[in-house]
């Protein structure tokens, strides 16, 4: 077992799980955020149908990430969750409401407006809470002796509110480029017109967060301004993706616009990881401090290495089967 750094392997697995979750649940949460602004009920049908086959599988990654965390990095689990106590509750409540709304909206008639509201509200709250987790994480946690010692609303700071709203805008952008890709006619036109507006919002948040982050902690400042010039590539690539989204959307290159949005998320995510690496509970604990015992990490690794390829294959297959445009009236009972 000593041959491998199990903690490092697990860090990669969980980082991968988180970005898979962000990318995949991101666009369906984004559709929920855009839901109240849809031009009509037909558009809402198309929006829901475009993610209906896959959204539940997308949330697989959240649960796998949460479960993997307690198995591999219990310290993160036992500090992050208490620190985000209220935020985690809001996220769960949001996800549950939108999940239930998803199932029942398809089957409802008179109560449809209620389910629409639950879907939109749940999506917004869940997205905001996730963004706030990111902000709180960058800012670090007040701990003593491996225990969170801060207050219930420490996580809710101006910075985390901005990252929260930023993720809402980001998910909405993902949702919009996804919808352009998956729809046609007036639904696509509407979504396509949204993209530049959302892009402005995302860029503003991106700029604020980028300028703010180095000031949070001397360690982050050093990381960005002392030795590692190569990491500047990450924000540069993220910006390149932003330009790519704008250009591709204007030219009507739907797939490219969506892929650039995914790229923007990936590079921003890597940039955030680099800022704090190898600290998993900033500012005090590294991923090795937070790790569970090697025998526990190893025992769990066997199962995960077995099942992750199956989930990936299955996910890829789902997307393949349901490729192409969703039309108004499709898949509608």
């Amino acid at each position: 077992m000593e041959m491998f750094d199990l903690s490092l392997i697990w860090a990669v697995i969980i980082a991968f799980g988180v970005i898979m979750y962000v990318l995949m649940d991101g666009f369906d949460l984004g559709l929920g955020i855009l839901f109240p602004f849809a031009p009509d009920e037909d558009a809402r049908d198309v929006m829901m149908n475009s993610v209906a086959p896959v959204w539940d599988g997308n949330e697989t990654w959240l649960v796998l990430g949460g479960a993997g965390l307690i198995g591999a990095f219990p310290l993160v689990y036992s500090i992050l969750l208490p620190a985000m106590y209220i935020g985690i509750f809001l996220m769960l409540a949001g996800l549950i409401f939108r999940g239930v709304a998803f199932e029942f909206r398809f089957k409802s008639g008179r109560t449809r407006n209620w389910w629409n509201a639950a879907f939109a509200g749940g999506s917004f709250v869940a997205a905001f809470a996730q963004g706030a987790v990111v902000g709180a994480y960058i800012e670090g946690f007040e701990t003593a002796d491996r225990v969170f010692t801060g207050g219930a609303l420490d996580w809710l700071t101006p910075f985390s509110v901005i990252t929260g709203l930023g993720l809402v805008a980001g998910y909405a952008l993902l949702g919009a480029t996804w919808l352009v890709l998956k729809s046609e006619g007036h639904v696509r036109d509407w979504a396509r017109a949204l993209v530049p507006k959302l892009l402005v919002g995302v860029v503003v948040v991106f700029a604020v967060v980028s300028l703010w982050t180095p000031w949070i902690d001397p360690g982050v400042w050093e990381r960005w301004f002392d030795h590692m010039q190569v990491i500047w590539l990450l924000p540069a690539l993220a910006l390149a993706c932003v330009i790519g989204i704008y250009a591709a959307n204007r030219k009507g290159r739907e797939l490219m616009a969506f892929l650039f949005t995914l790229g923007m998320f990936v590079f921003t995510y890597l940039g955030l990881l680099v800022s704090r690496w190898p600290y998993v509970i900033p500012p005090d604990y590294t991923l090795w401090d937070a790790a569970s015992a090697p025998e526990s990490q190893f025992f769990l690794l066997i199962g995960v290495l077995f099942v992750v390829p199956i989930i990936l294959t299955y996910t890829a297959w789902s997307y393949w089967v349901f490729r192409g445009k969703v039309r108004v009236g499709d898949g509608y009972h």
Binding site: Y77, Y85, R110
Partner: protein, 473 residues
Amino acid sequence: MALDPILLSRLQFAFVVSFHAIFPVFTIGLASYIAVLQGLYVSTGNRVWDRLGLFWTKVFAVVFGMGVVSGIVMAFQFGTNWSNFSQMAANFIGPMLSYEVVTAFFLEAGFLGVLLFGRHRVSPAVHFFAALMVAVGTFISAFWILATNSWMQTPDGYEIREGVIHVTSWVDAIFNASFPYRFTHMALAAFLTGGFVVTGVSAWFLLRGRDIDAHKRALSMTLWLLLFLAPLQAFVGDEHGLNTLEHQPMKIAAMEGNWETESNVPLLLFALPDRDLQANRVEIGIPNGASLILRHDPDGVVPGLDQIDRAQQPPVWITFYSFRVMVALGLLMIAFAVAGLVLRKGGRVYRSRWFLRGLQGMSLAPFVAVVAGWFVTETGRSPWLIYGVLDYADAITPSLSGGMVLFTLLGYIAVYAVIFIAGVYYLCKVINQGLDEHDDTEDLDSHDRPARPMSAAHVPFDDARDDRAPNRS
């Protein structure tokens, strides 16, 4: 009195886990029943088994969906409210809970989809195989959860280094002293739950004269099963109790309402336990009963709560009465199973209105019994989260305030109320639709995906919408 985060966290956990547990306990039993139905269809070729299988698969889909949604919350409870416990025990409980998730996903990704949507895409034999694998999968999920819980009751295969649990033997830790008993007891409880729901629903249809032939078959086969399982559960429960007597004697003392360690202890039917008095105010019992049951000897010595500090005693009221509720319902189940046998003569079992009405009501009994049983085992180990190792006060998240827990407790109650009311309401609609000849899964479309179990049931949630022009589309 200031809000106590420990008490509120315990209430919160009890609430979310009770509301979650009623779904899997039903789906575990129902999955096996569906596998039996599909197996009968394959071996006999009789369409009626397939129709019943389809009907119960729809019910399964809805309940499974509700279980998944309510289960998400559970994955976070240990971290949000019991972070010191998580940190201390993560080396064991982390892999266990993760393996449960891995098992569930493996199941969902593979066989559940075939079971729910593959009826017309694969052969009956393959479909049966998928049903069988789903049934096995639900048991594997239960295996991990019950191994974790049992380890917390009777920890084994570990050592503590620098305040953290390290697993020294996975086999000893997983197959700890109480695990075989708890697993068997719970597996039978799941079968009984599935069985009584099936008989209750079949009775409902028979009373209304719908699909008589199919539901007679379902009722008959399930009653045979219950006739065997209900008494078996009493036996297994007794064995489980003896195991508890050996490893957690104070839980037994609380279950029996026995304050003093002595011989010739009566089996109490009714009592008013009083902690301040350290005795029962009123008792009605069968002389020597507890001694006989627990020691197989009227002079047997039964442990009493006097062996531990008052502060360490479990909340006797809850343990004592939860246990009586569970046992009483268990005995009622045996009575109904036996009555079913007696009424078979002349086919009265399918006609007797009081019996069928009784069965309808009994479909709720196993749920109450299961929750009561968990109340017994969870309150009876008080104040220990890991028995003899870690108590509630040391296990709780140190930064929690009572107000925070109260806020989320009320929040979860609101969330679960919506899920539960919408879910049960919809479930009733699915059941009311009954066995239709037309199978909706024949015309699958884009939002029918295995990942969304509830989409297997195509029943409208409410009346047709009236906010749209009828000539649309």
